[in-house]
Amino acid sequence: MLGFALRRLLSTIPVLWIALTLCFFILRLAPGGPFDEERQLPERILANLRAHYNLDKPLLVQYWDYLTGVLMGDLGPSYITDDFTVVDLISIGLPYTFILGGCAFALAILVGIFAGVIGALNQNTSSDYGIALVVMIGLIVPNFLLAPILQLVFGVSLGWLPVGGWGEGKLSHLVLPVIILALPHVARISRLMRGSMIEVLGANYIRTARAKGIGARLMITRHAIKPALLPVVSYLGPAAGYLLTGSLVVESIFGLPGIGQYFINAALNRDYGMVLGTVIFYMVLIILLNLVVDLVYALLDPKVRAR
């Protein structure tokens, strides 16, 4: 298992490197630089700024410096947020992104699996269709439309929940952003779960178990849910990735600090260091999450475990 994990990690290094290199050069070729403002800076000051940020050397030298920096864990300065380095910013934003994403992830899994199981057990009944419809709406109403509606209803009109902000991490501040972030994944997970549950329920061994007279509830939990979870688990890797990118919108609507918001601002402001830093960070994170998902999958799936 360890060997597998290692091999898996090693094989992603070239991809990381290629993506990093491409981003690095594409960003430099793009029109507009970090120091282009409404008010032109005198040439002398621009030269100083470029020297300060190591932008005055030949491109290849800059690239080499950057690459060796990354290997040493130094992602360089942020050109726009002057008082912080990229590593500073990512480590400030990371806990917020993690708490938001983690809560949404947990909610999506719990509700999604629950809804999927209920749907499968009541296949083609009105409660199945009801769940499907509610879940579908969560999937297709864009989050930037749903979020302001929920803010208006629960924050402004009813006054039950805060409209936005982190609020020192109070649970009430997390409710709306977490729901918005989790909804599409509740939908996908519940559909996957329903499908695979129906399949498992139709499989021979369940029929056997049922024939032997094991109580229905026990049967579901003991025999059906675990194998039915496999496709859901395999979706979790991509889902984690979607959650991270989904937080771009949620963070900016709710005014939460977090890496998604930093990325958007950096991209708009040509903050090369920050853009590269966040892209690298996202890639490493998604690769790690996928690896974890693979390992969990291997633990769950007897076919794979046997090898």
């Binding site: 793009a30 029109p31 507009g32 630089g33 970090p34 120091f35 282009d36 403002e37 409404e38 008010r39 032109q40 800076l41 005198p42 002398r44 000051i45 621009l46 100083n48 700024l49 300060h52 864990g73 726009i80 947020t81 002057d82 008082d83 590593v87 500073d88 910013l89 480590s91 400030i92 934003g93 990371l94 806990p95 917020y96 302001p148 803010q151 208006l152 924050g155 402004v156 006054g159 805060p162 409209v163 936005g164 902000g165 982190w166 020192e168 991490g169 963070e251 900016s252 609507i253 709710f254 005014g255 939460l256 600090p257 977090g258 918001q261 930093y262 601002n265 708009l268 402001n269 040509r270």
Partner: protein, 527 residues
Amino acid sequence: MPKHRLTAFFLSFFAAVLLVAPAYAAMLNLHNGGDPASLDPHKISGDWENRIVGDIFEGLTTEDVGANPIAGQAESWTISDDGTVYTFKLRDNANWSDGQPVTAGDFVFAFQRIMDPATAASYAYLQYPIKNAEAINSGKITDFGELGVKALDDKTLEITLEQPTPFFLGALTHYTAYPIPKHVVEAKGDDWIKMENIVVNGPYKPVEWIPGAHVTTAKNDQYYDFASLKIDGVKFFVLEDQSAALKRYRAGEFDILTAFPKDQYQWLEENHPGEARVVPFAGLYYYVFNHRKPPFDDARVRKALSMAINREVIGPQILGTGELPAYSWVPPGMANSGESSEVDWAEMPYPEKVEMAKTLIAEAGYGKDNPLKVTLRYNTSDNHKRVAVAVAAMWKALGVEAKLYNSELKVHYAEIRKGEFDVARAGWLADYNDPVNFLDLLKGSTSNNYGAYSSPEFDKVMDQASLETDLESRAKLLTQAEEIAMDDNAAAPIYFYLSENVVSPKIKGFEDNAFDIHRTRWLTKEE
């Protein structure tokens, strides 16, 4: 990734969840828009940064409730008869937040630092009236001792100017003139600005900064006027989404909004009467013509395009907040200015303007078979988009085919500076209270003259004005310069900006002013 930071964060996070957050008696929650680039006064350039930094630092003079210069760290000053030597007497009780006295040396240090090319301060040019400032900033003089800022003793500072400058006391309220704690910068270097090191001399001091969320300040007990501060601290919230900000205001999470969606103005007037403060602001929204490129070097084409813009529709209808139409270059109400000189066709009824514009376009050689094609560039923003869409439709009536092109602010300005445009959107907000600040945008050699308008006559009058010491004749010369540019239709002024604050009735002492500067020390909050 530094692990201790994470651990520290989680600890503080859980501590904050478990404990009740320290209850501030009067915490001001202010929607501040963007994230500050820095708290270092020499490294900032935006009004959202000014709101924070102007609360935590204070210059020799500072802004009163109406943004007029009053005594700040200096309690008094004298000005020499020729208007070029200012001698300031610092307050005896002006201290840094660590208890050290603010000295004249701190000011000398700050002025030398901002002019030092190595600091790369983007706004240094604002203090160019100081003797030798420009030369030092551009590297022509390397001995900082030659800068016209001298400490006569610990509490006496002498500033010598290149020439008399009527707006200098105002310029000293600007963040480019704030002192820097020499003893801290020398001890900590670049890290002096980190939250754990920073030392300030303003009414408030920063206590927390979470990028993307907020900057929090608290009262500075070393401030000379500490006793009269009514607000205990400010949370400057980062939130670019204006409609989300308005919702948070309505839910009571924000006390002041510094911008709101223009479409909601009427709604605000009906549902929260008097809370939206929309007042003229010293700023100009305009379209630049690219003089480098035919046919925009043709005065007839420029005049036609400018005339066809129905300015009366843009403010009230398209934007919805009623911006004042601009037919002149210098916003009304600027100090040291004479009569405003509008374009001569300003009063003409709109249909006549269109007819005349059509004739001009035809004279310039464009018609049905040979339509004038224009690319209209603007930087990404809902309001700029709306104005551009409307203007393109207005030009369509002349038979002009306008294509819209938008890009981010950084790209927009980089490319229009290179001259890669036909017509482009630009805007200017006053740095200091003087018409020169706006007229300089059209001066031949300056880098903010995006369209490369060049008129020797205009430049000559401007140079004359800069040497004129008599304020009245100076104002006349500036008016004359403005007339020249407007007759040339050098660029198309569209409207004068409005400042758009929304202030909760709980907040008292917020006085509207043309510079949109509202320091927290003048405000009170009622619960």
